[in-house]
């Protein structure tokens, strides 16, 4: 695996479910090392886009990570190319400990021989990540017993040890307190650069603090793209997503 | 330990005959698919044991039965046989129904030089030195059944059976017979034991336009087969079925609605005449209920206990080898008529009977062999059968 992050280049991505088009011809370029925020109304197709890129749903078009075409590959092969993701509702191995969760995430490239042996000491990257995500003291707790927010941190931690070069994070700070969002944001800032990060979020404060570039999806299409300020100022975005003053009725447009 | 081929160092286990009782083993399926049939056999054995005990026992000792459940599972039969022999040290074991269970226990009895009395009609081609066969072998049931069909002028048959040793072997014999006797076998079908879906088989039978059906189905399958048979518009008049595993008990569970007029081949029916049978039927009903019919395997099991008693008394000992040695020519006035042990084969002379199922659920004899038929498990006396064994 190359040590430099690749960029993500999506062309004409289209996902349809029994006639309903969830992602409708999206073009998207994320430069290597960027942190791109992906926002848009509920049901705009953000998660579906990530699903398509990671092989969970079938899609047409093209999604290149670096030189590699991702579409049409199996999920685990895409993961091995260095694409990692988190889920909108946390998906952990609930009956394994925090440490075991991380160790498994770290180990997809291990040889069969290594797999058949015990984990000796805690691997360095795992130990480091445990500290980073603040779960060092819950190392031996079963993941199923973590609180909601802790689970999300663990998920991010798993991506880190997985050494993913393209991180696709689906609402990573949902349910986190303000301080924790800050910490998470800073963490993301740190890992970007050598990795390319795509974050889906609805928290505008968070977005303002940490986004470099933003893409707005609406009804499966790109509605707007640019810097935080540009996007915020876009009346179309205000209309379908941000809303105006709280007393004004807001149009809902996500679904026909 | 000893290598194969070296002299057998293992001796038999001698029965425990100390005290004033002698133990015998009862080995039948009380659970699982075969319980349907085997429980009645157990009942018949118990009846014989009680009668014998009431009459003073065997060589002055009361019989103490030790029951084990074979659970319709052949390896379990083997385990339980070994337990009866080695732990309980019984003088003889009565039981088994399916040939598969007998095949499973056979080495156990041979290895331990212990006695098994096997009470069910079977496919022949076997002769273990430690088994006494009190049910019919093929020349006492299958062959007479075929002779009867031939005498009725039937020219073609369809063979239907359960998928296991007895029916497959019986059908092999039937085919050999058919070839030599101008009978055409129009088809042959097997259903796994316990199978209850006979739509297709009956369609095939019907389409074959055979003049008769020879039925070696066992157990539950018979019920489904005959219900389907009647539903297809086939009757005893248009296409009679000769069955070799349907006795009074099965008739009762299928219903005369479906069976009336059909034929069976056995050595005994509840309606068989004679004082010995009157006594047997009366005693059985008194013990187990007036609605409980007696049947051929039950009778054979009942007889087997008396035969063992007679052998023991003739030998004057419970010792297995002595009992075996005394067996030849031992007779018993059985419900089916006089039976005699053939010491050479350890089978018994039995009267063959063809019966017709009546509306009352009883089977009445329509033909018999006129007297006991000498057992011929390897069909050595039949030229058409050369090459079968």
């Amino acid at each position: 695996m190359s040590e430099t992050a690749g960029g993500l280049r999506i062309r004409g991505l289209r996902v349809a479910f029994d006639g309903f088009v969830a992602v409708d011809g999206v073009d998207l370029d994320v430069a290597p090392g960027d942190i791109r925020f992906l926002i848009g109304p509920n049901g705009a197709g953000k998660t579906t886009l990530v699903d398509a890129v990671t092989g969970l749903v079938k899609a047409t078009g093209s999604a290149l990570f670096g030189e590699q075409e991702l579409l049409g590959r199996e999920v685990h092969r895409i993961a091995r190319l260095g694409v990692g993701r988190t889920f909108q509702t946390a998906a952990l191995f609930e009956e394994l400990t925090v440490l075991q969760n991380l160790d498994i995430a770290a180990g997809a490239g291990r040889s069969p021989w290594a797999m058949l042996r015990r984990r000796g000491a805690v691997p360095d990257d795992v130990a480091y990540t445990l500290e980073t995500i603040g779960l060092a003291d819950r190392r031996d707790a079963l993941a199923g017993t973590l609180a909601h927010g802790q689970k999300q941190w663990l998920e991010i931690g798993m991506l880190l040890v997985q050494n993913a070069r393209l991180l696709l994070l689906d609402e990573p700070v949902a349910g986190m307190s303000h301080e924790e969002r800050e910490a998470t944001g800073e963490l993301l800032g740190k890992v970007a650069g050598e990795r390319t990060v795509v974050v889906i979020e609805h928290d505008m404060d968070f977005l303002r603090r940490f986004a470099r570039t933003v893409t707005v999806l609406h009804a499966g299409k790109v509605l707007s793209e640019g810097t935080v300020a540009q996007v915020q100022a876009d009346p179309k975005v205000q209309e379908v997503y941000l809303g105006h003053a709280s007393d004004e009725p807001v149009a809902q447009g996500a679904e026909a | 330990g000893s290598k194969t081929g070296e002299n057998d160092t293992a001796g038999g286990v001698t029965a425990d005959t100390s005290g004033d009782t002698v133990k015998v083993g009862l080995l039948n399926s009380l659970s699982g698919t075969m319980a349907i049939s085997e429980v009645t056999v157990r009942d018949a054995i118990m009846l014989a044991v009680e009668e014998i005990n009431a009459a003073g026992g065997v060589l002055g000792k009361k019989i103490a039965p030790v029951g084990e459940d074979g659970a319709s599972d052949w390896p379990t039969f083997a385990e339980k046989a070994e337990k009866l022999i080695k732990v309980d040290r019984v003088a003889a074991v009565f039981g088994c129904w399916t040939s598969a269970s007998r095949k499973a226990v056979k080495p156990v009895f041979e290895e331990n030089k212990a006695l098994l009395f096997y009470p069910v009609q079977y496919e022949g081609l076997e002769q273990s030195p430690y088994i006494f066969y009190t049910g019919a072998t093929t020349n006492q049931q299958i062959v007479p059944g075929l002779d009867y069909l031939k005498a009725q002028g039937k020219k073609s048959v369809y063979l239907v059976g359960s998928d296991y040793v007895f029916p497959r072997t019986a059908n092999k014999i039937i085919k050999a017979y058919a070839e030599a006797n101008g009978l055409t076998v129009l088809g042959e079908d097997y259903a796994p034991l316990g199978s209850t879906e006979f739509g297709t088989i009956v369609n095939k039978v019907k389409a074959s336009k055979a003049e008769a059906v020879f039925n070696t189905l066992n157990g539950d399958s018979n019920v489904a087969f005959f219900k389907e048979y009647k539903s297809a518009g086939l009757t005893a008049a248009s296409m009679p079925v000769v069955s070799v595993s349907i006795a009074e008990e099965e008739v009762k569970s299928i219903g005369t609605q479906y069976l009336a007029g059909q034929l069976t081949a056995w050595n005994y029916y509840q309606t068989t005449t004679g004082a010995a049978n009157d006594k047997f039927v009366k005693a059985y009903k008194a013990k187990f209920g007036a609605d409980k019919p007696t049947s051929d395997p039950m009778e054979a099991a009942y007889v087997s206990v008396y035969l063992w008693k007679a052998m023991v008394e003739k030998a004057g000992s419970f010792d297995v080898e002595k009992v075996k040695g005394a067996s030849d020519g031992v007779t018993f006035e059985a419900p089916e008529g006089l039976v005699t042990i053939d010491g050479a084969t350890q089978h018994i002379h039995k009267t063959a009977r063809i019966g017709k199922i009546g509306d009352d659920g009883l089977i009445t004899e329509v033909w018999n062999s006129g007297g006991p038929v000498k057992p011929d498990p390897y069909l050595k006396g039949y030229t058409w059968a050369t090459g079968l064994s």
Partner: protein, 295 residues
């Protein structure tokens, strides 16, 4: 030609029997995820109910008709008892229900043996159901099979309507999909579970009554058919009644055709191979309900 038509009908009727047996499972297994190995013994209970009724109601036709609702109630009640005593503790570990109910099925078989005796028992069928309807030259259709086909059609229609359109149907489905959420949505989950189990088991009782027309009535009558019935539900797609319906008839047809050309044993093996092959194509059964969650 008549043979082929005859076999076609045999296939349909095998399918009808399969479906009748599988219908209750489509509820208890398909909807509730309970792998009830004692389902066969509930069928047996239905058959014995017919037998017991015939001891007092001697008219075969009448007793059969009376037996249908009573067997439904008897088997249903057994189901409720089972649910209350055991199953409700096992909703979080669905596969364990298989093992527990296996134990229950052993006990029920022994119970039948002790109550009714080890040998099979007999019931009389109304004469018309032991005969056949002739459809011209050599082709006839067994009335008992027609009766069962009618019964199945009726049962499927009623069950479909109940699940799809009634509040009860919604509740049943909601409870299995998310038990806690159902509870906090105001649904008495315990009662819904028991009711579902009552209906599913009751259908087994009805199947038992119908089976007295075709096969043996004895302690082990349930064991032989139960695996096939589970296969029907699995291949049809868990949670989907229409899948079970289609699959039952397709398997019945396949079985009849292959058996006609070969033997019953070969037909069973081929059906199995066909099922494995089919699951290669549709691993979650004919009809599946996908969700986006990873569970």
């Amino acid at each position: 030609m008549t043979v082929i038509l005859g076999q076609l009908f045999t296939g349909v009727s095998i399918g009808a029997v399969l479906l009748l047996i599988a219908l209750g499972l489509a509820l208890t297994f398909g909807q509730m995820n309970v792998i009830n190995m004692a389902h066969g013994e509930f069928i047996m209970a239905g058959a014995y109910t017919t037998y017991v009724l015939q001891q007092t109601i001697t008219d075969a036709g009448l007793s059969l008709l009376v037996a249908l609702p009573i067997a439904f109630a008897v088997a249903g009640a057994m189901g409720v008892l089972l649910e209350w005593a055991l199953i409700r503790r096992l909703y979080t570990r669905p596969l364990d229900t298989l093992l527990v109910t296996w134990g229950v099925s052993l006990m029920l078989q022994q119970l039948a043996r002790d109550v009714f005796g080890a040998p099979n028992v007999q019931t009389a069928a109304p004469d018309i159901l032991t005969e056949s309807t002739s459809l011209g030259a050599d082709l006839s259709i067994a009335n008992s099979r027609l009766f069962i086909l009618g019964l199945v059609v009726l049962a499927v229609a009623a069950l479909t309507a109940a699940l799809k359109f009634t509040p009860l149907g919604r509740r049943i489905r909601a409870v299995v999909q998310n038990r806690d959420l159902a509870a906090v949505s105001g649904i008495p989950t315990g009662r819904v579970d028991r009711l579902t189990f009552f209906i599913g088991s009751g259908l087994a009782g009805v199947a038992g009554v119908a089976l007295t027309l075709l096969g043996p009535i004895g302690p082990t009558m349930g064991t032989n058919i139960i695996i096939d019935a589970f296969l029907v539900v699995v291949v049809g797609g868990i949670g989907q009644l229409k899948g079970s319906v289609i699959v039952a008839f397709v398997l019945g047809m396949l079985q009849a055709m292959v058996e006609y050309l070969t033997t019953l044993s070969v037909a069973k093996v081929i059906v199995f191979i066909a099922i494995v092959a089919f699951l290669q194509w549709r691993p979650q059964g004919l009809f599946t309900l996908r969700t986006r969650s990873l569970a």
